[in-house]
Symmetry: D2
């Protein structure tokens, strides 16, 4: 098989064992399972991992699997998210790794092809592309994990010859990650980029699903005057009950000083909306798509970079500021990992799911999309409560 394709193997030397110890320390749930799994004998198991490659979660997980004897191959599921030090470090531990920050789309596809060539028996996927690539494997892979809505959408219509366990829809992820994690990260990133606080600022949150709720709640707690716009009138009434001002989109655009999209849809803020904002409005996106704001139209207006992550656009007589070019602000403009304690749960979900596929998955399990085993989720949540909750 092909050797690793990474930025630079020498970067492995930059890994600081103390820093790794910190990341393990703040992830006690997955660390608990990692240390159990590392002691097992999983020799002969072949696993392909397709996901983000970072120091904080990925490395402890794959090292534990490696230590148990699993043959692991890793590919980066995103052209931008790879920490090249982490990739080099994994490679230095005898894991084949494919991916680097800033790779081209062609390289991305080539990497996917190479991970497919590994002929894994088990998959740990984020985005569905790995499962899709393995559809034609004979015999079929024994099982796969899938983490994302877009992955599920991609696989939904396909005739899957193997079971894919959906852990995107488990309460532990649905009720926590979107609801809390984005809002918790977006406003520190906003302040980091702009230098501004939220005190007394009129903020418009477009979209009041879990992501929008979290963003709105956090903004209100930071002192903002939060306005909410959503097409669903029941959500508008909910927003009022959470202390937000429910407004029509036009009214919100006309009144607010900071506007954030969190709808999950593309093209939410288009030319006709962007022309309506108050002069000097700060606009950014925190939804799933990088195209909730029509950045193509904006790109055709006169614009200039103010500072890192702030672009100024002239729209007729007016101007607005766009942050992070319309990408998800908390991912694009944050300078540090955050929410490690929350992600700890999801690393555990992957680890336990993989071990369960190895050890306990019924032989006669049906192929196709399946729910992630509820007893594993419950076990992880219960451990979290024992560690974090309760008095102690």
């Amino acid at each position: 098989m092909e050797p690793s394709r990474i930025k630079n193997p020498d970067l492995a030397a930059l890994v600081d064992e103390n820093e790794m110890a910190w990341y393990r320390y703040v992830a006690p749930i997955s660390e608990h399972y990692a240390s159990l799994i590392a002691k097992r004998d999983y020799r002969g198991k072949r696993l392909a991992y397709w996901g983000h490659i970072v120091l904080e979660n990925t490395i402890p997980m794959v090292l534990a699997l490696k230590q148990a004897g699993v043959e692991v191959v890793m590919g980066a599921c995103n052209v931008d998210s790879t920490n090249d030090v982490a990739a080099a470090y994994a490679a230095s531990q005898g894991i084949r790794v494919y991916g680097w920050r800033g790779m081209s789309q062609a390289d991305y596809q080539e990497n996917l092809r190479l991970v497919r060539a590994f002929e894994a028996d088990y998959l740990c996927d984020m985005g569905g592309e790995l499962s899709e690539a393995y559809l034609d494997r004979q015999p079929p892979v024994k099982g796969a994990l899938e983490a994302t809505t877009s992955g599920l959408n991609l696989l939904k219509g396909r005739d899957l010859p193997f079971p894919v366990f959906d852990w995107n829809s488990i309460p532990l992820k649905e009720r926590l990650e979107n609801r809390f994690h984005v809002g918790d990260g977006v406003w520190p990133a906003f302040s980091h980029v702009t230098g501004l606080g939220l005190f007394g600022r009129r903020v418009l949150v477009i979209g009041y699903g879990p992501v929008g709720k979290g963003i709105a709640e956090r903004a209100r707690n930071l002192g903002a005057l939060v306005h909410v716009s959503d097409l669903d009138p029941v959500k508008m009434i909910e927003a009022r009950h959470h202390g937000c001002e429910a407004v029509g989109l036009e009214e919100g655009l006309a009144r607010c000083q900071v506007i954030v999209t969190a709808t999950g849809f593309e093209g939410v803020l288009r030319e006709e909306h962007l022309r309506q904002v108050r002069p000097g409005t700060i606009v950014f996106n925190a939804g799933h798509s990088n195209r909730e704001i029509d950045i193509d139209w904006l790109a055709r207006q006169p614009h200039q970079r103010m500072k890192a992550h702030i672009e100024r656009y002239e729209i007729g007589e007016k101007f607005l500021f766009l942050l992070a070019k319309g990408s998800l602000l908390n991912l694009a403009a944050s300078d540090s990992a955050h929410g490690l304690d929350l992600f700890d749960h999801y690393t555990a979900v992957m680890l336990l799911g993989i071990a369960w596929m190895f050890d306990e998955m019924p032989a006669d399990i049906r192929p196709g999309l399946q729910p992630y085993p509820a007893h594993l989720e419950r076990e992880i949540a219960a451990l979290s409560v024992r560690i974090h909750g309760g008095g102690g």
Copy 2:
């Protein structure tokens, strides 16, 4: 048909038209529909209403129907909730009414029999007993509305010869009423009864469904140190993310000064739990059942009334205070209507549902439990947003 059975017809004179005008004023959504419906010609329609009979919501609704020519008969769905002035007033307007505050269970059943004898074509039910009583009508009634979980449970197993439209499960009710209304009412009732604030008090909320969430959120906003106990560990993690301390039940009992049950189950606090509370703990219930706390066991311990709605129980060397004898505190110990603006939505749901059954229900609708028409819910929510939301 039998004449009305009410406390005293003369009480109708106590109705203050100005007070009624206030109740209409603070219910603009249902008032909007009531005024439209009052102008229609519904002569020949026969409707039986089985629900609470109070001035604030019931009277404007049934008067509008009456004015449109509907023949309405009303029965009280609860032996304690009837406002006898409201009942007398409805009777004075030519509506037959069956129910009074404090009636016996036998009278309750007799009233149900009398309302059944009316041979209505349409039902507006709370609790399922009216629909059950009409199961044998020939030809079957044309349609029914049902408002409650217990009603749905009662009817679920039955072979229904007519459609029953469930408006208990619509988002407008599920996402608002339990989530906000109980919490909003429970703590003012607590302060009204005890004279105490929540500042700095350790409060244990048992059960973290929508009702528990609302109670916990409101308590935290009132300055309490909120602890949450729930059997579902994912809910425990949610509670932590809402700023509550997640505790095991035993630990919560040992630490907290105020304990509230909100589980929806019976027998949540039993002898073994009640023996563990700190001396002087204040205990009350805000769940669906009046038996979340084992009041039978408590009744066998030495006890005395301290003041209205406060009973002191001796448990060995310890003592605790139970509020409202374990009934739902916000209903039992509140001295005034509250949340009229929220209930406004539900009066509109009933009014629009009745009019839709009269006018638009497809002739070939299937019998059995059916969802309440989504377009009606959406219309009501949109009107609410127009009236309450937005800037103006």
Copy 3:
């Protein structure tokens, strides 16, 4: 000396010892000192009390003094606040009492004259009128306590022949009572009277001193969209930092649905302002004066009573609702004692202050306004922390 002048001595029989036990139970700080003081020998001490006469705080305090042998005479400092059962009960215990609910201004003055005739050596005053009445006593009284700003203002210019200890300005009162107690009581009273919640409602708080801050904070916690108007621009900036919208008075009047005055000044809302409110606005007062709103002008507009504590006024084409006729809403429209745990501190302040004047006050203390002894305040606060704070 004149016998008691009260509503009806027979009312003493209505006192429920269990209810009294509850009031003692929820006031552990003052109860601690009351039980200590009751055991002392204060025979020969003559104390005049001029204050509110209610069951919850007053009775346990005066009974402890009485039990220690103090000769106590009580007069009601307010024509409306007396609980006639409490007055009768005190009288039944051998204390002379002067005052009843609804007495005339002439009776009030006559009662003050009678308490003055007692020739007390020590005073416990609320409002300064008792101290003023005693200015001419020879020899001068030995010491007095004063609880209110208006009392201090009344006495400030006078040539006081005895020391008056000001406990209005101690941090324990300044930082807690105004800041928390009013806001905590005002919104439950609002909901009690109107039947409405605050969710999503635009509320204007006029005046952002401690009272206004507490009202605004609590309203925001109850889900309101809080607007603040204050003449001091620094307070406006503070309001923004607390998540409120700072607005000019005119703008606030034009936008808000609920308006509350909390300035401490008279004539804040006058004709020109009341003409500007939105139709249907609910207006009330929570400041120190009952005349923050120009009720004389309103009284000349067409008006009608809607229900208890709600009056509707027509102003040209518009109308508004005034609650509690412009009196302090939390006092006028609350149906129950609240904040007993907070007031517990102040009962202790009086008790300890009285005992200190008896026992420890230096013989050579200067006459005139003096600070309340800081070590007593500190002792009370420390006991509060031991009882309520800390883990236990």
Copy 4:
């Protein structure tokens, strides 16, 4: 006079005019005054500035003064806070600048000597050292501004031959900066350094003055279980009313997972306290002094660096993590300017104060510490309200 002493004059080329435009844009209040003052004729005025030298506030202020003809000399008041690009840029504009990041204490003193040698007529000081250095100037300087508590303490006992205007004590600074700014910055820095959120974490805030209040309030809003310890029992009761658990120091140390000092005193956490914390506790400082935690004792325990700003100390069998080596976390570990909108007010305070000393200061003003002119503060606050508050 000596030329500038800075890191590297070539760094001036790194200034990005667009970034400067952003800093001006988010500081509309001081920008307003800067543009007015830049047009005046202040030739012949000699001003020494002793303060932080950064791009965001300092440069626009001194450029405006320079443009008006003022002769300005700048010195850095802190060995670590200088932005060397800003210093180079100021020097490139013809201003003499003394200071660079990481200078020695000896260089610091030498710089102070050089700024003293300028023989300024007006001073703008942070920390009092500049004013102290100028005590012997003959004739005395005409006026000085002082920004800090420590500066006021330094000057308090001295016989000042010129007026020093204290803007540390103005409400605009006292009620906003400490109360909001530290809390707003400290928790994002915490998450930046540790990767952790505050959800459900037990946090102990030691000291409940304005700084502690802001830190506690913000932590609670971020989902923490906030505990407060303060020697003043009234502050403890206040903390309870703000929804915090008031605890003794020992109890707080034994229960909490994150501990922050905010007392303003040195030696608050000493050996005996540090031995009591739970294993793995995260400790940091947000008070005025860098020595609230006994870092000397900690330095003698076995320790190692985990990652940037996190040190692990072994204390017997236990271990704890100290952030930023005990320095103020929000200053030491923040990677970006924040609160620019709040600091905007203080830049305006300096600018307006300087112009007032030039133009309007009475000739017969008394030497010594004087309050900053109240009408200037009011004007700035009113402009802030016009710009930020109100509806628009």
